[in-house]
């Protein structure tokens, strides 16, 4: 069941077509007509409707500067929307952040602290939360093993390759068991081979432990390879142009990249993206 929702760039209809239900308890992120105007006057987002269901992997693609990073920051509770309603786990994002570990965030750069070892970096969020050091060590060992970095526990970030640093960054975001994993072009700075490896690793982690992900990328093939749904945004002020349900299921591997169905999904997303770009 592959469903494509396309939409004219007409803001007044967008919330109808991408409606998110009150009575859908499985929604982790629910955005209704969300917009934000920065104090500088820039209207970055306007009329954005999006729902992300529990366990779903949703990618956001769109022209650069359309507000993708801004939307992730809103979900993370770092910014407050100036229009519409946004909830994370049924609460306002800032409230959600303050009361529970609502989000794990992975930036484009690994953002590791250079004066901490890999292990100390990995459990930083748990340390900030006040988890005792013995318990942290258990979690660190579990996650180091999961991302294959056990022997680098005591290494410094500077001693790792770019791909390994990103694995630490992903493990750090997931180790605090957030309601949603937010990733902002995490693999954009990596070479193709490393990126491919990390994409598969991310799928493997998801199959192993199951988490909800909102993933920003400008790489269409990456979005299709990873996601259940690819959501295309319009140029600034950003809102939803349309979405492509991917539906390749859980077991994806490198062979999928050569598949004809894969190529056709990429074309669909690329087409939407072209309509979104002025």
């Amino acid at each position: 069941m592959e469903r494509v929702t396309r939409r004219k760039t007409n803001a007044t209809h967008s919330h109808i077509l991408c409606r998110v239900n009150d009575d859908n308890p499985g929604l982790i992120v629910e955005s209704r007509q969300v917009g934000i105007r920065f104090p500088s006057g820039t209207l970055a987002l306007h009329g954005l409707d999006l729902g992300v269901r529990e366990g779903e992997f949703v990618s956001l693609v769109g022209p650069s500067g359309c507000g993708k990073s801004t939307f992730l920051r809103l979900v993370a509770g770092l910014l407050d929307p100036t229009e519409g309603q946004l909830t994370v786990g049924g609460m306002g994002p800032i409230h959600a952040r303050k009361t529970s570990h609502s989000c794990g965030f992975v930036f484009q750069s690994p953002t590791l602290l250079p004066w901490r070892t890999v292990q100390e970096n990995l459990v930083l969020p748990l340390e900030l939360e006040g988890m005792a050091s013995a318990a942290r060590r258990v979690v660190a060992e579990e996650w180091l093993e999961r991302v294959g970095l056990t022997e680098f526990a005591k290494a410094w970030p500077a001693q790792l390759s770019g791909g390994m640093r990103m694995r630490v960054s992903i493990a750090r975001a997931l180790a605090s068991r957030p309601r949603i994993l937010l990733m902002d072009e995490p693999f954009a700075a990596l070479d193709d081979i490393t990126r491919g490896g990390l994409q598969e690793e991310l799928l493997r982690l998801r199959a192993e432990i199951g988490f909800t992900t909102l993933f920003v990328t400008h790489n269409v093939s990456e979005a299709v390879f990873l996601s259940d749904r690819v959501v295309v945004m319009t140029g600034r002020p950003g809102r939803i142009q349309g979405e492509v349900a991917v539906g390749f299921g859980g077991c994806r591997d490198d062979d999928l990249r050569g598949d004809a169905a894969f190529a056709s999904k990429i074309r669909e997303v690329a087409h939407l993206l072209k309509m979104a770009t002025p």
Binding site: R73, C103, F105, L113, P114, W115, A158
Partner: protein
């Protein structure tokens, strides 16, 4: 080791030798009077004869410089912590910190002596005023200019102000404070000598500053030259020692993590 020594130490020594020989030849060739320019040999003989005075004076000056340095490190970092709290604090106070950097120390030193009396405390204060700025400004930069994404990461995980300070800002500032301390270390000795000019402790415990004043007053130019040499050596030793300590501290704290 030998190779490095011969590369870093020999050339300046060779240059010094050439200058000293040239200086000797000039003094002899133009038959300059010794109260104007003494010969290197005369300076060396005078320095040797007054070695205990010079050594003692150097130690007195060193004590003033080290106390001034310590004060700069402690107060410089403490004030930087206040500055790091808010942009409006920096905006309203930083101009006065720059004042420390630009005010001519010879104008302020007499004031300090008037307020704190002639003696050790005034010497330490002059040394402090002269050397605090590099530490202060570097510490502020290190505390404030952390990666905004790292700040967001800490915010996402609900870090307290205290956690952001101790786990992010302070560790980030350490290498910069150390770099500032290296610049300051040379200034502390100059500050102590200038301080002694104005607040010398008199004949009982003369530092290099006092010895310089005395020898110039008595036109003992050989001793004056020897004092200049001793001051330079003292400044150099403090600078090199600080560099060594800095290296050890950095190696301890973040080797090799910092070299990302």
């Amino acid at each position: 080791m030998i190779a490095r020594l011969s590369k870093n130490v020999l050339p300046p020594l060779a240059f010094l030798a050439i200058v000293v020989v040239g200086w000797g030849l000039v003094v002899r060739g133009f038959a300059l009077p010794s109260y104007l320019v003494p010969s290197p040999v005369a300076v060396f003989l005078e320095a040797w004869a007054s070695r205990s005075d010079l050594g003692h004076a150097s130690l007195v000056t060193l004590a003033g410089a080290l106390c001034g340095f310590g004060l700069s490190l402690v107060l410089g970092t403490a004030v930087a912590l206040v500055f790091a709290q808010a942009a409006w604090i920096r905006a309203s106070l930083f101009p006065y910190a720059i004042f420390l950097q630009t005010v001519p120390i010879v104008a302020v030193a007499p004031l300090i002596v008037i307020w704190f009396g002639a003696g050790f405390p005034s010497v330490v204060l002059v040394s402090f005023v002269l050397s605090v700025f590099p530490i202060l400004s570097n510490a502020v930069t290190g505390l404030v200019r952390v990666d905004p994404e790292l700040l967001e990461l800490f915010q996402i995980h609900n870090a307290t102000r205290w956690q952001i300070l101790t786990k992010l800002r302070l560790p980030h500032a350490v290498p910069m404070v150390v770099a500032g301390a290296k610049v300051s270390s040379g200034l502390t000795v100059i500050g102590a000598i200038v301080g002694e000019f104005f607040a010398g402790y008199g004949a009982q415990t003369p530092g290099l500053g006092y010895l310089i004043l005395q020898s110039s007053g008595q036109l003992r130019t050989e001793l004056l030259f020897a004092c200049v040499a001793a001051s330079t050596l003292l400044g150099l030793s403090v600078f090199l020692a600080t560099g060594l300590v800095a290296r050890l501290v950095l190696a301890r704290l973040d080797e090799p993590g910092r070299r990302q």
